[in-house]
Amino acid sequence: MHRFANPARFMRIAALVHPWAVGVAILALGAGLWFGLIGSPADYQQGESVRIMYIHVPAAWMGLFCYVSMAVCSAMALIWKHPLADLLARATAPVGAAFTFICLVTGALWGKPMWGTWWVWDARLTSMLILLFLYLGYMALADAFDDPQRGQKAAAILALVGVVNVPIIKYSVDWWNTLHQPASVMKMGGPSIDKTMMVPLMLMAVGFHAFWLVVLILRTRAEIAAAKVRTLRMAQVHAAGQGEQA
């Protein structure tokens, strides 16, 4: 049973962390929605449309954050064969895909009134779309083999190769001409947006991270249970086979 030693510890820690993560997610997202929709002023240039920023920008951060976590877990799984790392990477992928999708669609909804177009094939938008495809490819590949370990290995390699896309997304607004504005929060010399807009932005970012943690714990629990079910079923088949031989 030592193979389940690590997952057992994860389950103990997860049980402790989970209610707190749920609480933080509800509080931060609730407060973020209030400040984002009511408690903050309209932008002097963009008017009320700026309120889309409070989900678009944190969703983009989450898309990158989830991808980097997924890649780190995949590297740990490939190098040290850590049994939990694969499961954590698998559990993170759908969350990252969801946030990347939210980022793309809210970006289109923001781009239409501000830029006059839903979509342009420029570096930032295209590299973000590639990020979504990397998530979808990872999830498809992880489940594409009869032997889950082979699928997991192939998906982990894809996740690592796809890491080159992360700096491209980050610096695309500086390297290429684009409609997309450059960073105004995570930049040298400190953020250049007003405190009244920083509050809902940070609350939503905290809420999205707590949301990620809540879902990560749920999905990892499901993955651990599924792995144990597979092991038990194989033991059953093995025992049945031995029974027939005897």
Binding site: R51, A98, V229, A239
Partner: protein
Amino acid sequence: MESLTSFLAMGGYGGFVWPAYALTVVVLAAVVVASIRAARAREAELEQLQKMRPGRARRREASAVPNPEKQAS
């Protein structure tokens, strides 16, 4: 009432702001619901399998009973 109308209008951007928030709520809710259901389903399946294990052990003991008879015959 008028303030609610103007709130919903979002300075003319209501048609962009509200779909953005609605989509976010729908997608995140779908992720949470799917994850809760997956966790419950897998853990229930595991529990059922683990309940069957003692039964299997008993069957193995039961199948061990005929052996002395074989030796006897």
